[in-house]
């Protein structure tokens, strides 16, 4: 009896030690791929509701100005009408927006990347932006010309995020083992991620210019592979209800889907109130969004926000 209980106890001890070992090991190995735990993000404390009412207008202004967003829009000559629309609409709300084109286009000011390859364009654009603006902007937002972005909501989303941490945010897609941010929904990188990315760009092993062997890998996947080597992992951006804030479709598409799938909760099932991007818009739809987002509203609904953003100078459509 005694020997049995002692062997039982020995068994328990051994089992626990074994389990502990495995858990530790698993943590260290899995840690790299594990989403939330090992990004070492500081979630900066945002002011709570009572504090907001006590924060002065000046302090809110200060806080709002601490987010400096540089927008990169990759364009090609075929996108001219979208390019024009984007230029006249949402990009006016970036702290700075620059257009990176595959080749020079008359009438439209842009930075010539001198290549038709999207991944090469993206790399060069990131390098250019980092080299020139690393001290001026703490967040870098890359978009296609078919995307509409609400930069104020982007800044709100970034409210508790420390840019000296490696953030890589947007609408994520999982492709096999790789989780990457879809370029269609817009890609957000913190300055730390930019730093790490740029240190790798010259390394052909971690960040090759020619992605796939047989067929081309899309530029957003390539970016993810590159960033992964630097310890930067994609995170899906969601609001407090779990709704995506970066969207790869238009509002109309979401509404039509909701009309089919949840006809009793169409608007509720659509999209986040704090959505940052929608994709797939026509130039006309961009102008309508400008009106619908920045102007059209219901009188008598007032919000007490922690941030304050002024309309940009010299603009009449917002």
């Amino acid at each position: 009896m005694l020997s049995e209980s002692s062997s039982f106890l020995k068994g328990v001890m051994l089992g626990s030690i074994f389990c502990a070992l495995i858990t530790m090991l698993g943590h260290i190995r899995v840690g790299r791929g594990n989403r939330m735990h090992h990004h070492m993000h500081h979630h900066l404390q945002a002011p709570n509701k009572e504090d907001i009412s006590r924060i002065s207008e000046d302090e809110r202004m200060e806080l709002s100005k601490s987010f400096r967003v540089y927008c990169i829009i990759l364009v090609k000559p075929k996108d001219v009408s979208l390019w024009a629309a984007v230029k006249e609409t949402w990009t006016k709300h970036c702290d700075k927006a620059e257009f990176f084109s595959s080749e020079n286009v008359k009438v439209f000011e842009s930075i010539n990347m001198e290549t038709n390859d999207m991944w090469l364009m993206m790399r060069k654009a990131y390098k250019y932006a980092f080299d020139k603006y690393r001290d001026q902007y703490n967040w870098y937002f890359l978009a296609c010309p078919s995307t509409f972005a609400i930069i104020e909501n982007l800044k709100y989303f970034l409210l508790k995020k420390d840019p000296s941490q490696p953030f890589y945010l947007g609408h994520t897609i999982k492709s096999g083992e790789l989780e990457y941010v879809s370029v269609e929904g817009g890609i957000v990188l913190s300055i730390e991620s930019m730093k790490r990315l740029n240190s790798l760009l010259s390394n052909p092993e971690t960040c090759p210019e020619q992605g796939g062997m047989i067929w081309k890998i899309s530029e957003d996947k390539q970016l993810a592979v590159c960033l992964k080597y630097a310890g930067v992992f994609a995170e899906n951006a969601e609001d407090s209800e779990g709704k995506d804030v970066f969207n790869t479709k238009t509002i109309g598409v979401f509404i039509k889907e909701a009309m089919n799938n949840q006809p009793n909760q169409i608007v509720e099932g659509c999209c986040s109130d704090m959505a940052v991007t929608f994709n797939g818009l026509t130039p006309n739809q961009m102008h309508v969004m400008m009106y619908g987002v920045y102007r059209l509203r219901a009188f008598g609904h007032v919000f007490n926000d922690a941030l304050v953003f002024l309309p940009p100078n010299g603009s009449d459509n917002d």
């Binding site: 049995e4 209980s5 062997s7 020995k10 068994g11 328990v12 051994l14 089992g15 626990s16 074994f18 389990c19 502990a20 735990h37 979630h43 945002a46 002011p47 709570n48 809110r60 609400i150 104020e152 800044k155 709100y156 989303f157 409210l159 508790k160 969601e238 609001d239 407090s240 509002i251 109309g252 509404i255 169409i266 608007v267 509720e268 659509c270 999209c271 109130d273 704090m274 006309n284 739809q285 102008h287 309508v288 009106y291 619908g292 102007r295 059209l296 219901a298 009188f299 008598g300 609904h301 007032v302 919000f303 007490n304 926000d305 922690a306 941030l307 953003f309 309309p311 009449d316 917002d318």
Partner: protein
Amino acid sequence: MASKSWLNFLTFLCGSAIGFVLCSQLFSFMLGEQDNTQPNILHNDPHAKHSDDNGQNHLEGQMNFNADASQHKDENTHIAERLYQKVRILCWVMTGPQNLEKKAKHVKATWAQRCNKVLFMSSEENKDFPAVGLKTREGRDQLYWKTIKAFQYVYDHYLEDADWFMKADDDTYVILDNLRWLLSKYNPEQPIYFGRRFKPYVKQGYMSGGAGYVLSKEALKRFVEAFKTDKCTHSSSIEDLALGRCMEVIHVEAGDSRDNTGKETFHPFVPEHHLIKGFLPRTFWYWNYNYYPPIEGPGCCSDLAVSFHYVDPTTMYELEYLIYHLRPYGYLYRYQPALPANNLKELSQAYKSEDSKVKSETLERKT
């Protein structure tokens, strides 16, 4: 001896299995805790889950401002609620049996909920929808007759339940909050009506049917009276024009519904048609019909627009989302119409005076 050591071994194995399981449970519990010890869940935190809304004082019933609570946690609807009580609007929606499920349903699911009272007017009654049966035929040539009968019905049953009476189509989207803001400057005892003003045929102009129009209580009374006394004709194939002619005959004023920067609030088309320069060709009838100089581009439309027309079901929900849900956080809108709560008090006192028209003009100059 062999069996005993075999038993020992078995016990040992059992023990290790149990130890392993217990330990892994403990670890996952501990690590789970670690997940939850985030910094304090704060307001405006895009990541965190919010606790339930702590009762804001909003009206129950037809109006449901806080339909999805947590997204609207920081929303203060006090002014909108006060206007809801002070500027009572009865909406009636022109529809028909074949459009109840196709179109009227989406009106009912969106903006109609914000009317103080809403009625769906059809040629035949539908108890389930519900829709009022006007006992007419259907068809474009019946529109004016349906309009007369609809207003008659409203007059007979709901005259004292509202101050203003809005007519809309089942493809019109109406922003009730902005309509109340517009009407709050006027007295329902005045004979006046508002809409998108057109200039041809009627000296003081008439209001576009599709963009919707709203009658004051006095205007409604005079309109219904006019048919009893044959002041106005009963038949016409053009509803809005006929109504506009009648209004002029009975001395109901065609009001100016533009905002104080001169931008139109009632719109006969969807936003895209007005906002995009060149969308409506220069030869289009619209350019000659508008009472005030027509504008395309951003100057076409007030921030506080009241209505859009030719709105299909998908666009109904899109507008609902854009107006009542999506917003640019922290943005200080360029157009800031001032009407803080104490102004409402000022306005209600103004209503009490006899010469309310002069008073409201004075107030307009002030704001």
